[in-house]
């Protein structure tokens, strides 16, 4: 059953990517609709793939690298789809889907985790992790949108429009979409972190013990607050704010990889 969901998900995401590319290339409205439909279908099958795995392991599906990456891909796709509906803009899908697909495939190719899982039990922990990964996916989406902003801005300034510029969202919309996804990320990471502290308190009886992950997360939080603030100021609005957004996501990637794998004691995969 798990294999069926995996195959269906890969097919749905691949076909969705092809349709989004076709939409970007030809502007065919029907291609865009098909792409969104396939992405929604992929989200459903991906969800069941995570659910099946969770049942098989008798635990949450994200206590290892597989689950963490797979859930990241799922939440990235979900966040994107919500933004697509909210802003009525489909042409960004062709740039987001490769990341969703890459994370889903990488998660399935990742070696099985041999470490004993953390005492990952209870809804508090589940919300803590899910919200943290949702935050990362929001930040990833804002990074992709900022990259598109910079490319489109460069094309517009250099008068090299080609076919694509007419189909991409306006710069103003890209900024708004990026800020929306950062806002989703900030709210999620704030609530997720608070829930994490409460969960640790219940588990160990103390609110605080030192973990480098806390410092990095706080740093990430401050960086994104700074982005939202600076993006509205005179000297930063426009391309500079987008560059800051991309820089912030580099820090997030460091937090997700180096800090998790080598520095943190309790945040191995999220």
């Amino acid at each position: 059953m798990l294999h069926l969901f995996l195959i269906l998900t890969i097919f749905a995401y691949c076909l969705s990517l092809v349709s989004y590319l076709r939409f970007l290339n030809t502007g065919l409205v029907v291609s865009g609709r098909i792409a969104s439909g396939l992405l929604a279908f992929g989200l459903v099958t991906h969800y069941f793939a995570l659910l099946e795995r969770s049942r098989g392991l008798h635990t949450v599906p994200y206590h290892d690298l597989y689950g963490s990456m797979s859930l990241f891909g799922w939440l990235l796709a979900l966040t994107y789809l919500v933004l697509e509906f909210y802003h009525r803009q489909r042409s960004v899908g062709a740039f987001v889907l490769p990341f969703v697909l890459a994370f889903f495939l990488a998660a399935n190719l990742a070696p099985a985790d041999r470490l004993s899982p953390p005492p990952a039990r209870g809804p508090m922990f589940a919300f803590h992790v899910t919200l943290s990964i949702l935050a990362y996916s929001g930040f990833a989406l804002s990074c992709v949108l900022s990259l598109i902003f910079l490319v489109e801005n460069r094309l517009l300034r250099n008068h090299k429009l080609g076919n694509m510029v007419w189909r991409l969202p306006s710069l103003e919309l890209l900024e708004r979409m990026s800020q929306s996804s950062v806002l989703i990320g900030l709210v999620s990471i704030a609530i997720g972190t608070v829930l994490g502290f409460i969960w640790v308190d219940r588990l160990t009886g103390q609110y605080w013990y030192y973990d480098p992950k806390y410092v990095v997360t706080l740093f990430v939080l401050l960086l994104y607050v700074a982005y939202l603030r600076l993006a509205r100021t005179a000297s930063w609005r426009g391309p500079r704010a987008s560059r800051l957004c991309i820089f912030n996501f580099v820090v997030v990637i460091l937090s997700f990889t180096v800090v998790n794998l080598y520095l943190s004691h309790s945040h191995r995969y999220f």
Binding site: L28, P169, E172, R237, P239
Partner: protein
């Protein structure tokens, strides 16, 4: 012959002829009434725009060539000499007429390839004719197909999406930066013809605030009044450049009007909010180095003309896709038309055969007096069965199989063969 079209357009007639042959709503109604009352057409629809005047119609069944009559009618109706119209008018029948209308509604026959207004004009002409009761089953189906083609061409191709004039290209570029212009403002420097075009396009796209600045205040006031803008005193750069997101400049000047230092201080004062500048002046009105400023986008006449040229090519590359949609719908319409005609033909044939059978039996059975009444009845039943066997199966196939209908190209020929000859005999 089922559908006829007589008309003229921007390719066949100069503006002065098109003006004389155009129809107001009242004239369209009167023309449709007269065409039907004179028996020239059973169904009519007049399509009249600034680039074309066309009469679509379904002539009575017995008519073989009604186009000359329609040409004469148009000549009389508009009081235009026939020789003036003879070179301008085109006549199309059936498939060619259907194809012509579908190309028109798809924007393929427009002066500006892919323009969007024509679909609305076709829709309006159809609605008007329908309200007047001038259309019937054939034209209803035809124009519903035309509207469908128009919608599909616009949603499935990019024939009409790219701007094709310098003014439209500039405004579309502004939308690439700012999105919708509904809460944006624009400043127009100069009050010449090109400024007027851009202002008109900006207003069409819903720009919220419009400011006009010109050396001659009177001309600025005229333009501002025409498009609902406000006049700003020439040279008041400190205040003038503070609000607008779009600046359009077409001033006759030797030196750039907007020097780099003016724009630099303006950008600083406006908090680096993005500024889109359209320099339509020759010589250029905006310092070329202004494009290096942060969040400033400068496009001059050459840049915009290049974009229009690229867009023209892009639109032309969409023609095969749009033609494909037209062909598909022409095929669908002709198939529908054939099915209606063929089914009608078979029904007429069955009715005629029944009548003939009755007359045939009456004349022949009189000679077979040795047969009883029962034998007569039995012969009648057998003949009915045989005739039904011959005719019912083809009728069923015509109803059910589109491919069969498609293969039968000429229903008129079948009608002549099976019905007209019999009438003659």
């Amino acid at each position: 012959m089922e559908i006829v079209l007589v008309g003229l357009n921007h390719r066949t007639a100069p503006l002065e002829v098109r003006e004389r042959v155009s129809f107001t709503a009242e004239q369209a109604r009167r023309a449709a009434d007269e065409l039907r009352s004179r028996g020239l057409l059973e169904e009519t629809l007049v399509l009249s725009t600034c680039n074309r005047s066309e009469v679509y119609g379904v002539p009575p069944e017995a008519t073989h060539d009604c186009a000359p009559g329609l040409s004469t009618f148009l000549s009389e109706f508009h009081s235009v000499r026939p020789e003036v119209l003879s070179t301008a008018l085109y006549h199309r029948y059936d498939r060619a007429a259907v194809r012509h209308l579908f190309r028109v509604s798809g924007g393929l026959d427009s002066m500006l390839l892919g323009e969007a207004e024509i679909l609305g004009q076709v829709r309006e002409a159809y609605r008007f004719a329908q309200e007047q009761g001038a259309t019937g089953p054939v034209l209803n189906r035809l124009f519903q197909g035309a509207l469908e083609v128009g919608k599909r061409v616009r949603s499935e191709t990019e024939l009409g999406t790219r701007p094709m004039s310098v003014a439209a290209a500039g405004v579309k570029l502004a939308e690439r930066i700012f999105g919708k212009l509904a809460d944006r403002s624009a400043l127009v420097l100069g009050a010449g013809t090109i400024s007027e075009q851009v202002v008109s396009t900006l207003r069409d796209r819903g720009i919220a605030h419009l400011y006009v600045m010109n050396r001659s205040r009177d001309r600025a006031a005229t333009l501002a009044e025409q498009f609902g803008g406000r006049v700003i005193e020439w040279g008041a750069w400190d205040t003038a450049l503070l609000k607008p997101d779009v600046i359009v400049s077409s001033v006759g000047t030797e030196e750039p009007v907007l020097q780099r230092h003016i724009l630099e201080s303006a950008m600083s004062a406006r908090g680096n909010r993005a500024l889109f500048l359209m320099d339509l002046g020759l010589p250029r009105n905006i310092d070329t180095s202004a494009s290096e400023l942060y969040n400033v986008y400068v496009y001059n006449m050459d840049d915009l003309t290049d974009i229009v040229q690229q867009n023209r090519q892009a639109r032309e590359s969409e023609i095969p896709r749009a033609e494909g949609i037209v062909d598909e719908h022409v095929g669908k319409f002709l198939s529908w038309q054939a099915s209606v005609e063929l089914i009608g033909l078979v029904e007429a044939l069955r009715a005629r055969v029944r009548e003939d059978r009755a007359a045939f039996l009456r004349s022949r059975l009189d000679q077979l007096s040795h047969l009883s009444e029962q034998d007569h009845d039995r012969i009648e039943v057998l003949m009915d069965e045989l005739l039904d066997k011959i005719l019912v199966a083809p009728a069923e196939r015509l109803r059910g199989e589109r491919e069969v209908r498609r293969k039968i190209q000429n229903v008129e020929a079948l009608r002549d063969l099976f019905l007209s000859n019999r009438e003659q005999s």
